[in-house]
Every structure is written in structure tokens, then in C-alpha cells.
């Protein structure tokens, strides 16, 4: 099997974001970067499939050279090849990212293309669906279970209050949700091996963006509330406040 996994570098979930002086993006100062958590499920699934059926896994990321540590993190899990699509910075417009990824993916003849269901920085949750549409491929998103029989895929995706079972056939695009698998730890051996794998850099002309971030701001600050009291004795007062003051019950 020939599998591609698109991965994105994102700020660590511990990050307390600051705003860049431009007011239009998050400040990158002092940020610790990680492989997008959902992309780890995508890489893991690809690796398991290749371990079972043979083939290779190529990780692909669009971004500046600064995203290479994240590409190496995916390689350290066990992927065989890596491509970085050159971009000065991550585009604000997801359509631009999707078109560039599709351009490169188109040349790879992949049986399966994996994504994370969402990048935890911009939370767009749309690049996988856009890439699938660009490549005219079947696509299932937010997938928590994947079975393959020959060319046929049966997947379960998470929906409100349950799951949806879909059938599609390869080649296909899948976006991974937590629950799909348990991503492996990066072993020291894997990390050493990953260091020796060359990262191919490709140039793609980026479309011009049609989505602009005008302003980044902090959400309205929550006023510190009050401690109603201690233990079960405080309950009647809490219920009164919820009923009479907040009027939510």
C-alpha cells in the first residue's frame, strides 16, 4: 500500500497564547511546537496498515523549514518518506493549503491519504474534505474505526449521539479522530533513524488567499465567580442562585 499522511505543526496544547503586535495572528514567541494530536492518529493508522499489508508511508507538510522537527516527529514514529511543501508561513486560507496539498498528492498515486480531523490551532476542520474534492476522491471524516477488505473500506465516523457507518473504496481520503487507534511512542531508535531520512522539498505556486484574518483577540474575560459554600450544605443556595439569579434551571 502506498499511503500519504498530511501533518501539521501546531502549538503545544499547554500554550497560553499571546497576540502578535500586528494584531492579526498569534505570537510565535516562546511557543513550543508539536505534531497536531489528531495527525498522530493518522500516522499511526497508516503505519499499522503498511506493517500488515506492506508498502510505505509518506508524510507531507506545508510550511516553512521551521516545521521540519514536526515532520521528523512523524518519521520517528516509523514513516519512510517525507515531503515539505515550501511556504513562508502557514496560509490563513484553508483553500490555499488544500489546493497546494492536492497538487502534490496528485503526483503520488496513493491508495489512501490520511489527515487529522482538525488542526488544533486554527480548528478549521476542512482541509481534508477540500483535498478530497480537489482530487475527486471518496472521503470520510472524523473516523474512529477503519476496516479494509480488498479495495473496499468500511469506516465509522463520529456524529452527534452516535456513529455513522460508511462504505467507500480506495483510493480514498480519511480524516482521523481520537479513538481510531493508540499512537505509538517515538522510540530512541526511531528518532535516530528519522534523522537520516532526507526531507524532499517541493515548490508549488500557492493560490492567492480569499480569507483574511482581520483581528485576533482574547475572548471576553470571565468575571471570577463566587464560592457558594462548602459541601452538601451549600446545595440549596446553589440551586436558588441557578434558578433565580442565573435563570438557567
Amino acid at each position: 500500500m502506498n499511503i500519504a499522511v498530511c501533518v501539521k505543526q501546531v502549538p503545544d496544547t499547554e500554550t497560553r497564547p499571546k497576540i502578535d503586535p500586528s494584531g492579526k495572528k498569534m505570537s510565535e514567541e516562546g511557543v513550543k511546537w508539536i505534531l497536531n494530536p489528531y495527525d498522530e492518529f493518522a500516522v499511526e493508522e497508516a503505519l499499522q496498515l503498511v506493517e500488515k499489508n506492506g508498502g510505505e508511508v509518506t508524510v507531507i507538510s506545508l510550511g516553512p523549514a521551521a516545521v521540519e522537527p514536526t515532520i521528523r516527529a512523524a518519521l520517528a514514529m516509523g514513516a519512510q518518506k517525507a515531503i515539505r511543501i515550501e511556504a513562508e508561513e502557514n496560509p490563513a486560507d484553508p483553500l490555499v493549503t488544500a489546493k497546494a496539498l492536492a497538487e502534490v498528492l496528485k503526483q503520488g498515486n496513493y491508495d489512501l491519504i490520511f489527515f487529522g480531523k482538525q488542526a488544533i490551532d486554527d480548528d478549521y476542520a476542512q482541509v481534508p474534505q477540500m483535498v478530497a474534492t480537489a482530487l475527486d476522491l471518496p472521503c470520510a471524516t472524523v473516523v474512529v474505526k477503519l476496516d479494509i477488505e480488498g479495495e473496499k473500506l468500511t469506516v465509522e465516523r463520529e456524529i452527534e449521539g452516535g456513529k455513522e457507518k460508511l462504505s467507500l473504496s480506495m483510493p480514498a481520503v480519511i480524516s482521523a479522530q481520537k479513538g481510531l487507534n493508540e499512537p505509538r511512542y517515538r522510540s530512541l531508535k526511531g528518532i535516530m533513524k528519522a534523522k537520516k531520512i532526507p526531507i524532499e522539498t517541493v515548490q508549488v505556486e500557492l493560490a492567492s488567499g480569499q480569507l483574511e484574518i482581520e483581528k485576533v483577540k482574547f475572548p471576553p474575560e470571565k468575571q471570577p465567580g463566587k464560592i457558594v459554600g462548602k459541601g452538601a450544605d451549600a446545595v440549596p443556595e446553589l440551586v436558588r442562585l441557578l434558578h433565580e439569579e442565573a435563570k438557567v434551571i
Binding site: 502549538p11 496544547t13 497560553r16 497564547p17 498569534m26 489528531y38 486560507d93 484553508p94 483553500l95 488544533i120 490551532d121 486554527d122 480548528d123 478549521y124 476542520a125 476542512q126 482541509v127 474534505q129 477540500m130 478530497a132 474534492t133 475527486d136 476522491l137 471518496p138 471524516t141 472524523v142 465509522e156 465516523r157 456524529i159 452527534e160 449521539g161 452516535g162 456513529k163 460508511l166 462504505s167 467507500l168 479513538g179 480569499q210 480569507l211 483574511e212 484574518i213 482581520e214 483581528k215 485576533v216 475572548p219 465567580g225 463566587k226 464560592i227 457558594v228 459554600g229 459541601g231 452538601a232 451549600a234 446545595v235 440549596p236 446553589l238 434558578h243 442565573a246 438557567v248 434551571i249
Partner: protein, 323 residues
């Protein structure tokens, strides 16, 4: 002239509430921009639902009815929406930011060569120019986004935009589009036992964390949720311990929620958890540690043991409801 097209979500022959929220927002946007708003219903049998849309002020209802739509395919729906948008001259396309909307609308966006603003929580019109407000980093930051694309597409976060009744007598018309062969098809819906309410749709959420000590104590959460008509949520610690399914996880790598009431039981309030729930209108925290960070975002807190506080809370609310 602006033409706002609201794409309805229908499940079990019922229109989802988020579609009415989107309608009220769409009608308001049309008023502010000086345009019109229409509803689009797609399915194998949707005609009977058309009058529902009239309660919220749209001028037109468009129907795509086709037996072939009985088996749902996201790619087919995406294509149908794009075709309708072109046919009727839509300028804006709105849909709920649900599992369905988030899946389908990016595909439509690609077909229309326009980006999508996913999961908006507000919008503003200035001199005829719309900016959309959406969270990023699960709500740690908010961004104002503008579009220069041919179409504006946005999904609206459930429970954020109020539903406003404004009866109209819309003109109903059935449109013809060319449905492509489906590439991925839904074979079956596996509903959670008891048809559980999902956290993203719930108006009240009762959530438990590691402080609940184990799945055997979750009946305390469930009993309280039941008297409140609430959904149950969980912290990642409870999910990772295998006590609860991931579908319930609230936070940066779970679901982002904004109910009117969020009750956090035995949850410390780690930054990743706060990111997912701090936009709730009211937050109640029950935690035995007065220093727990959750109290910094809670409107009302009780310092105490969940095992004692929860049964009492359930009892008191039962009492209130029966009055």
C-alpha cells in the same frame, strides 16, 4: 443583492434546531445587507417539512427531492448545494456546525472556489462588509475573519445564535440538479444506547473528571443529568482511564461546547479542558480542592466532595422541578 441560502439539516424526518438558529441569523444578515434569505431542504422526502421554514422568516424554500438521496452521501449533498447556489444566485451559504455541516460544507466550498468560515460564533456588518467571529485554539483566542471570495460560506456553532420566530409565507419550489454518482455512502447509523444527547447540542452539560474516582460512580452524574435534561461530558482523564467514551470528551482535543449551564464535577480545570468549555454561559464547579483552577472560571463553586454534593444537588433540583 445579497441572497443568503440556509442549508437545513434533517434527521429522522425532523429539522434540527441548529437549522432554525442559522435561519434566524441568515434572515438578520439579509436584513442588514439588504437582501433575501432562503431555506434549502435536501432529501428523499422533504416536502412536508417546507412549512416549518416559514416560521423564521425566509422568503423562499427550495427543495431537492430525489429517491436517490435515501442513502446519504456527503459528496452528493455537497454537489447539490453548490449547484443550487449557482442556480438561485446565492451569495452566502450557511449551515449548522454539526458533524454533517462541518463534513459537507468544505466540499461545497471547494466546488465554489471559496473558503469556508467554520464554526462561527458571531458576525458583524459594517458598510455592507461582513466580518465573521470564530474561535481558534479551541477558544483560547477569537478571530475576526473577512472574505473576498465569490461566495461566503460559514457554519454556525449550535446554541450560540438565538432562534427568532418571524412567520412568513415563503414560496416553495422544487429545483432540479444533477446528482453525481455517490463516492461514499452512509450504510447505517449506529445510535448510542438510549439515544443520548450529544454535548455539542445540549443546553446543559454535567461533566465528570478524575475526581469521580471511577465509572461505578457515574450514576451520580447521570442522575443529575437526567433531572436537568442534560448531556453528560467528561474530562480527558476520565476518557483516557476508559471510564467514558471519547465522544463525551470536552476540551481542546475533544469537543468545544457553549451550553447555558456547564457543571464540572471533580474536574481540576486544566488549560486544555478550559479551552473547550469556558464560553459556557454559566459554569458550576464542584471540587474538594479550593485551589483548583476550575474555580477561576466558575460562576458558582462548591468546595466539597462530589459523592456528597451530587446526590443532594439532584434531590434539590428534583424538588424545584416538582414545585
Amino acid at each position: 443583492m445579497s441572497h443568503i441560502l440556509i442549508v437545513y439539516e434533517i434527521r429522522d424526518q425532523k429539522i434540527k434546531k441548529v437549522s432554525f438558529e442559522a435561519t434566524s441569523a441568515g434572515v438578520d444578515l439579509a436584513n442588514q445587507l439588504g437582501g433575501t434569505a432562503s431555506a434549502l431542504l435536501i432529501g428523499s422526502a422533504v416536502k412536508d417539512l417546507a412549512p416549518e421554514a416559514g416560521k423564521y422568516g425566509v422568503e423562499k424554500v427550495f427543495l431537492i427531492e430525489d429517491g436517490g438521496l435515501e442513502k446519504f452521501s456527503p459528496d452528493v449533498m455537497a454537489s447539490a448545494i453548490a449547484q443550487v447556489a449557482e442556480q438561485v444566485g446565492a451569495t452566502h451559504i450557511l449551515m449548522g456546525a454539526t458533524a454533517l455541516g462541518k463534513d459537507v460544507l468544505p466540499r461545497t466550498a471547494f466546488l465554489l472556489n471559496s473558503p469556508l468560515v467554520q464554526d462561527i460564533i458571531g458576525y458583524q456588518v459594517n458598510d455592507g462588509k461582513v466580518t465573521y467571529l470564530r474561535p481558534m485554539l479551541a477558544g483560547k483566542l477569537h478571530t475576526e475573519v473577512s472574505l473576498s471570495s465569490a461566495y461566503h460560506l460559514a457554519t454556525l456553532r449550535p446554541n450560540v445564535f438565538p432562534v427568532k420566530e418571524s412567520p412568513s409565507s415563503p414560496e416553495v419550489s422544487t429545483l432540479q440538479v444533477e446528482l453525481p454518482a455517490p463516492k461514499a455512502v452512509v450504510e447505517e447509523i449506529l445510535a448510542e444506547a438510549g439515544g443520548k444527547l450529544d454535548v455539542t447540542e445540549a443546553d446543559i452539560i454535567v461533566s465528570g473528571g478524575r475526581g469521580m474516582k471511577g465509572p461505578e460512580n457515574w450514576y451520580l452524574i447521570e442522575n443529575l443529568a437526567e433531572v436537568l435534561g442534560a448531556a453528560t461530558g467528561a474530562s480527558r482523564a476520565a476518557v483516557d482511564a476508559g471510564w467514558r467514551d471519547h465522544a463525551e470528551q470536552v476540551g481542546q482535543t475533544g469537543k468545544t461546547v457553549s451550553p447555558s449551564l456547564y457543571i464540572a464535577c471533580g474536574i481540576s480545570g486544566a488549560i486544555q479542558h478550559l479551552a473547550g468549555m469556558s464560553s459556557s454561559k454559566y459554569i458550576v464547579a464542584i471540587n474538594k480542592d479550593p485551589e483548583a483552577p476550575i474555580f477561576k472560571v466558575a460562576d458558582y463553586g462548591i468546595v466539597g466532595d462530589v459523592m456528597e454534593v451530587l446526590p443532594k444537588l439532584t434531590e434539590e433540583i428534583k424538588k424545584l422541578k416538582s414545585e
